[in-house]
Amino acid sequence: MQVEYEAVIGIETHVQLLTKTKAFCSCPSKFGSDPNTNVCPVCLGHPGTLPSLNAAAVELGVRASLAFGGAVARTSKFDRKQYFYADLPKGYQISQYDEPLCSGGAVEVEEKDGTRRRYGITRAHLEEDSGKTVYGGADRMAGSEYSLVDFNRAGVPLLEIVSEPDMRSGRDAYQYGDELRRILRFAGVSDGNMAEGSMRCDVNVSVRPKGTSDFGTKVEIKNMNSFSNMQKAIDYEIDRQSNLLRTGRGSEIVLETRLWDEFKLQTYSMRKKEGLADYRYFPEPDLPPLILSDGMLEQIKASMPELPAARRARYLSLGLPLQDVLVLADEPTIATFFDTVLATKVSPKAAANWITGDIQAYCKDNKKGMGELAMTPQVLADMVALIEEGIISGKIAKDLLPSLLEGAANEKGVRQLVTERGMTMVTDEGQIAAMVEQILAANPKQLEQYRGGKNKLQSFFEGQVMKESKGRVDPKLMKAVLMKKLNQEA
């Protein structure tokens, strides 16, 4: 019988915290500046300089910990993690070793079918980012002729979040990362932009015969710039390791760091780890212990925003289908937009439909986030209200929406725009009857066929009237009038 293998996966996630300045100096921590322009003697590690901790980084670290349900340590400390690398100017990284800011916590994932899975978090700690090495003459280290270092990133505050080895597949890892990112974004902790490197996942993958409890030799995979690449890399790695074990070549699985090649769709070895690296951690003598006051902790707790899970629960309780809820609570900007519309007391279902349908499609087509929409939430609310009041039809609203999205009604309001453009619904029975008669008269052939028993043609006439009225007739009333005319004169 063939042995079945199962994978054991743990993820270390580094997230850049959304502070204005770096962790230990007052340089801007923004992304995308010219190389080596956001630097100072402190983050360049000049001799004689000292770190001073950015309180905002601590606050965001605490927020993140509260968001994934970790226990925040009232006292934690900083340590030096020492290694030599060109992008590490001091020769050590200020990090937290044995007394991290946060212990425990979990990410709970909700599937489309409503099932839930829980992935544990071991700990989370504050640390500083390194500079960024840019390889010259090649796109990676191998084959490059020289390297340059950009220290803009050096000293940017990071939270390293270490998961429990709770994942078993690339898909599990995708879900964990995706929900963790969502939590961090809703908590305002990080923008979680994987392409820009503000969220980076290092994955540890090992494989063992199913049913056993010892861990196999683990391999670390880095360099994945999206969760779907992370999923592919993990599944590739599980296959690779399982095949080696299956073919008696288990000894070829070694402690190493592998990188994901998104073009060849495979992992390749970057460096072998010879034993465990000795980082010679010791307490950072330049920083006192980090002590959180009751006041600060209470203040942060009180300022915690509603998180994705709570939002989903709230939206579900409005009677919205899970499918819609997952979209509405996917992004802080979408959720905020939706909540602003909800506050105007329009029907949640109608607002949700517009947002998850036409508006999302518009965002996708125009590569815009909800936060970048020209249309204010009030405009959508007004539009939905006009439909509910019977002043415009859904069809008209659909035609109107593109210009609303460009901001056409932000100033004057939807009601006035609709009036100006003559888009209000025709609800006068006489007016509708006249239109119907006109259509019947213009299509004698179809009328004859209908009256000869071809009932399906009813929708043809409905369409014609709609077209003639440019979608403005009250559809219910129009149907009633049409049916009366079609059948009455038979």
Binding site: G45, P47, L50, S52, G91, Y92, V149, P285, D286, L287
Partner: protein, 292 residues
């Protein structure tokens, strides 16, 4: 002491760029100048200005390993303090001599880390012949760092290594805690603790280069002040013969006065009183030999 006081007054207090600096308010140091500096030395002494002050000689810094003339100068200084009205007793701090090895473990550990930045990438003289990064580090550090510096980096790196950390760095921190609490305990009873600044006179340049351990031993009296986070001031208190170089001129002996945490004003006052009343022959004059 006046200059020292001005300097200290200017540098004391919280520095926003130094998280290890205290944020407690800086007291006025002018009390250190009381009693007044006016009047003759004799008048000053006869007024017993240190009446009510309690001081103690640290037992573990005297006796074995201390040059007799150094010790004599310290004992004389203690007598002088008594003449100014202070009570001078002896106090035993059993952990005092553990401070030196503990200090050297901690100091070289930090040094090994602090000096990592001199790797030739941004600091230190880079060896440009090296073919790759690791070789460049090794060649640059070999080239740019001096012998004593390398020795300390090696020791510090060793002390922090996996498997040795607990036996060295962690243990040294535990010793530090004991020393600090012992000294703080003594300072609850005394306004100042007295000891030599060093057990021997200054040695000659290069004399102990081949024997770093005996060089380090010279720090035995001063390192604990840093370990315990206490203020101290060293002042000249007399001269002694260079025992190993008979016939050479005498060299000055330093008296260290250790005070309570943040009581710089207190020890400056003790030092000031001594300075104002010391006998002239115990005070060094700065005389430089004429250039040839």
């Amino acid at each position: 002491m006046l200059e020292l006081l001005c300097l200290h007054g200017a540098s004391a207090g919280h520095d926003v760029r130094d998280s290890t600096s205290s944020s407690r308010p800086v007291p006025s140091f002018s009390q250190a100048l009381e009693p007044s500096t006016s009047g003759s030395s004799t008048d000053y002494a006869s007024s017993r200005p240190l009446q009510g002050k309690r001081m103690a000689l640290i037992k573990e810094t005297l006796g074995e390993g201390v040059e007799p003339q150094v010790q004599a100068a310290i004992m004389q200084a203690a007598k002088h303090y008594e003449s100014l009205g202070a009570v001078v007793e002896e106090v035993s701090l059993p952990s005092f001599r553990l401070g030196l090895p503990a200090y050297y473990v901690l100091a070289v550990s930090e040094a090994s880390s602090n000096l990592a930045r001199y790797d030739g990438v941004r600091f230190g003289s880079r060896n440009k012949d090296a073919a790759e990064l690791q070789a460049m580090y090794e060649a640059s550090r070999e080239l740019g760092l001096g012998g004593e510096v390398k020795r300390r980096i090696m020791m510090g790196t060793y002390a922090l290594s996996a498997g040795y950390y607990d036996a060295y760095y962690k243990r040294a921190q535990q010793v530090r805690t004991i020393i600090a609490s012992e000294m703080e305990g003594a300072l609850q009873q005394y306004d100042g603790l007295l000891c030599p600044a060093a057990p021997t006179l200054a040695y000659r340049f290069g004399e102990k280069a081949k024997d770093p351990l005996s060089m380090y031993k010279g720090d035995v009296c001063t390192v604990n002040v840093n370990m315990a986070g206490l203020p101290a001031v060293v002042l000249p208190c007399g001269f002694a013969d260079q025992a190993s170089h008979p016939g050479s001129p005498q060299l000055p002996v330093g008296l260290q006065v250790v005070g309570r945490a943040f009581d710089e004003a207190g020890i400056l006052q003790l030092a000031h009183a001594y300075e104002q009343t010391r006998s002239a022959e115990n005070w060094p004059t700065l005389a430089f030999p004429a250039l040839p």
